[in-house]
Symmetry: C3
Subunit: 476 residues, 3 copies
């Protein structure tokens, strides 16, 4: 340690309100939920990590490379993503990993005021026992601390899953996946936790995109259904949803450029489907057919009971040069405005009061919380408001979410926290942040005499356990 | 009382900020306005209740059935609206009423964090002296308490109007209404309070809707004008506005899917009007003609001086099955985004600086407060920003409203509170909530040295009395 | 002084949070930045004032007439802008000036809760030593105090620039301007501060507007380039940008109705340009060509290094009668919604990672802060989020800005404060307000243990000095 090192500690009251009487309430509420097991109904951890209990290789590949939340901030200051090991799986030597870590530590101040700082500090301190703030001077010391830890068996994924007390974790999977990793885990009597697949058919619902026809061929092969007709597509999809359900799936997840769900009439859908299979569909027709596909997914969900989650309105691969060089999901996606009321009209009218259907909408367009999602979820038994997602999974945005949704949407029509992350080590920190912030919101309502302490205590527990368990039908 | 009952009390500091120095200021401001008479320039209480002083029948019909704010929350958890007595006027026995009340009490926790809880608690405690929290166990006890109260003369509408100290109350009325109830009240020397009609011509301005031609025939009959031409429509409207004004109306109210006010040229309006009378108008043409009608209403308002209020951008009867089964206004309406700047361009350019014209815009699209409504109301003498309406008539939304509108719209270009409710017994609670929240906002400005205490005291009074009296030309 | 006068003082803790532990932190942070020199990278002070050191004539012409922020609030209550001396440069006698001042003082209460009150109080107290609150009774007294001050040499613009410690100030200038005032200042060895021009070509980029062809002729004359072709337009623009850069400009500024930047292909641009020069271009074509022009400006900026600022989405001259009577910029402009993601796609893909290009986007559509601008600026090295502008340059809006942008956009991708004002005397007050509010935000993060005190102290300084210096390449 040099004179330049700054100690790193976690304040037990972090994120709590400054006002002392409110903080006292927050503390009391948080005590009651902080150690509850983690339920993670939606995320992106590769199931292979758990199934094969693959040890982590180095600090950079573990904490930086796969985490576009972290990478993009450095990119915004001109750091080359390649220097951080992007894309995942590229050649990345130990020297390069150490260099990436140094770049990160040198740029640590960029994260001030961001949730990435909150998560990372908690990972460093609580998981690895790091006690110095990242900086140019401390980079190697921290790197070595983490490196020597992850070489030990207690830092392998299954051990960490126990340590983190993750009771339930969903992964995200391609409809044609054989779910072998999930099967391995389900058949492993020594593994006491639940890892479940999620049916994520986005690419199979975009008939105007180049990859679609190849995917249809693959889908035909895997499902044994002829996908040359819309009817065949339906059967193939039903087949794969059933396969996923048999392998423990509780939900399907969907992310498209808009929320439209208005179906074409059958004849027109058949016609467009045929054109799509011939590679002749226009972008506009492709959109109409995709909205029909989504309506069909909702219809299937109302029958097979898989909870439907939607994460709409992202302009994917916004920076074309970056996408070309590094592939998808490296940080250049951009959220856009969303129209919930008109978009969901068809699905809500068809299935919104169906007791077997459940739909959770996630958004980064905060304007719809009080204007559209809260009011609609307040009324429709099937509809739930997802917690803030991605670029708004952050303290101030989460507080705004609670204040915007609760008054007419109610606490009981929100989804419970989902971490939505591929950064496995950040899962406890993300759930901790959410629990703290929900306790902050509740404590403020108590301090203003809008809830009694008893009501807040019950709600704090429900938000962590009962509500996500109900919304996602989490198995016991 | 069993061991399960939880006492119900109202904290005198409810809704006040936790920070003690700010709370002290809030208390002081609130003391000065809490007992001022209620001015209610816009609402939906049936005038017959007051004119005929009709006693209330049972707790459910009084507090649940007609209140879609309350009903929809239970519907969102799968409760059948029919079990709550919807639609109003359906067969509803005493047993059914009691059962509806039990459903409500059992679901009481759903309302945590909502304004419905605030209002209902205040109604139960202050009006009926209830002292236990609603629950499955206390449902019958509370039901009996309310039932025995409303059988007494002091719980009849006129007595309650005195008890609530409602100085002025506007109802909402059909243009063809004969306003007999208002006339009865005006001619009743024993009735010391003011109940005034509001001209609400929405249906008469929607030429593409099925009901329109029948309404035109009725309008012709009532007004004595030939409504087969646009000129006739204008004369008929002027006739009915004059009738309303003669019967004490101070305003007209308008709610359509958008805020557009651009008029067609006269020849095109004549042509479309004729097509509409032939039942041949398209939806698009109907919209253009409706915007022309609205422009005409503004022109009339600039002449007859009726204040014009607009509550735009709601997707009415969103759930079609619900509308078919229960009729309109039972909770499935959904707010949408609104474009104020382009929508109001025609009307503001024509009448926005006319000293005889006053326009109040209510919205549930909070994004326009700081971006469009505040700036426009700051500039145009005729324009006022309505307080939060319906799904945003709630503590956190009201605080956001004040913080978004005041900085460039100013306090003095807001409307003053309107309760907009058919839930008669909730009127004092709604005004109380508004007064408390305005005092909270003012006290925060004082605590941050942005206003002096003297300025805040004057404003607290102006927001309750002077501003609505001026905006709506409330008679002395 | 009569019994009616109310003392006017500035609380040293104004704008600071009420909660005492947070306030203590705010105080400490503010102490460290309050006396730092002012950097003003974008504003509207006429350079002639400084170059010729022109004394101010009277309080109304100085503080009211040119300030549409102040005027419009009185207009919103029916005051005639002519009575306030609008348009600037109209006949305005000393009597009229005094009368305008009386109108303002009589209407003082309208400004409660607005930033105009904050700025004006600070100007009155700190610059002129006024110690009474404006009112009908105090109007003359305050008028006389200011009048006698501005007749003294120490109240001339250059002396005030020293007193205000304005280190750097940019003006806004027409591309054909000869920048003689800037040259005079640059050549004046006695003048120790920097006043730089800004290239503002809006009108030259709107080919469908009536004035455009005349401007093209003028541009040809001044640049020596033939502006009959698109290629000529490009050369002429490059010529003028070079001229501005030679005269010290650091940026160009752009304000159009939308943010679109998608260029036409060259042949189509040539064709439309030709039509425009023939006066035959449609509004729609004009918009497409203007977006092409903007793309070209970005391309030039990526080569000459002038920072590009954009202030989009204002409906200019919204009230047509007012514009006709008083000209532009007198307060009737109205902000509108903006689409950042699609609008900037072309420019960001072309230049967003170019180290020589810097783009700062200002908006009054707060919805894009967390949804579009924060995420995009987080990723693109060239993109920065401008601080709140115009109708949202106000305490509550600024707090919302920091809370919406920081979490994924980071502090380091914001612009630093710009005052954007023609109200020269308000510059210190505007910067003071910004510094206080940034310290408030930082202190709240410290109080909630989201930043350490050391991190906040560094940030407080960076926000005032390092960040604007970097973003705008402010010379040392």
């Amino acid at each position: 340690m040099t004179g330049m090192t700054v100690p790193l500690t976690l304040n037990p009251d972090r994120l709590f309100p400054a006002e002392q009487s409110t903080r006292a309430i927050t503390r009391k509420l948080y005590q009651q939920v902080k150690d509850l097991p983690i339920i993670s109904p939606h995320g992106h951890v590769p199931p292979a990590w758990i199934a094969d209990d693959i040890p982590f290789s180095d600090p950079a590949s573990l904490l930086l490379t796969p985490d576009h939340y972290v990478n993009r901030v450095m990119h915004g200051q001109g750091v080359d993503l390649a220097d951080l090991g992007v894309p995942v799986g590229s050649e990345f030597s130990a020297d390069q990993a150490r260099n990436a870590w140094r770049i990160f530590c040198k740029n640590w101040k960029l994260y001030r005021g961001t949730p990435m700082k909150y998560w990372m500090e908690m990972e460093l301190v609580e998981i690895f026992g790091v006690d110095v703030t990242p900086s140019e001077e401390t980079a190697d010391q921290i790197y070595d601390t983490i490196q020597s830890a992850i070489e030990k068996p207690e830092f392998k994924p299954r051990a960490l899953m126990d340590r983190f007390d993750i009771k339930f974790m969903a992964t995200t999977d391609d409809p044609c996946d054989d779910l072998a990793f999930h099967e391995k885990l389900a058949n492993d009597a020594s593994f006491k936790r639940q890892v479940r697949p999620t049916f994520r058919p986005d690419k199979y619902l975009e008939p105007a995109k180049e990859a679609w026809n190849g995917l249809m061929d693959k889908l035909a092969e895997v499902s044994g259904e002829n996908t040359d007709t819309f009817d065949g597509w339906i059967k193939a999809m039903e087949n794969r949803r059933a396969y996923f359900k048999d392998h423990g799936a509780i939900s399907s997840d969907h992310s498209h450029a808009d929320l439209g769900t208005e179906p074409l009439d059958k004849a027109e859908a058949d016609r467009l489907y045929e054109r799509a299979r011939q590679g002749k569909i226009t972008a506009e027709e492709g959109k109409a057919l995709r909205q029909t596909f989504i309506f069909e997914q909702a219809r299937m969900a109302s029958e097979d009971g898989l909870v439907m989650t939607m994460h709409p309105a992202v302009y994917r691969d916004y920076d074309e040069a970056t996408a070309e060089r590094f592939g998808a999901d490296v940080g250049s996606d951009a959220p856009t405005a969303v129209d919930v009321v008109h978009g969901l009209h068809a699905v809500l009218n068809a299935f919104g009061k169906n007791p077997n259907y459940r739909l959770v909408i996630f958004t980064m367009d905060e304007t719809v919380y009080s204007r559209e999602l809260g009011p609609l979820a307040g009324f429709y038994p099937s509809l739930y408001v997802g917690v803030p997602w991605w670029f708004i999974d952050a303290p101030d945005a989460i507080k705004r979410f609670r204040r915007a949704v609760t008054e007419y949407g109610t606490f009981y029509k929100t989804s419970g926290f989902i971490d939505d992350t591929r950064a496995f080590l950040s899962i406890p920190a993300r759930h901790d942040m959410s629990r703290r912030l929900d306790c902050v919101h509740l404590s403020e309502l108590v301090a203003e005499h809008r809830l009694t302490m008893e009501e807040a205590e019950e709600l704090a527990h429900e938000l962590v356990v009962d509500i996500p368990t109900h919304v996602f039908s989490i198995p016991a």
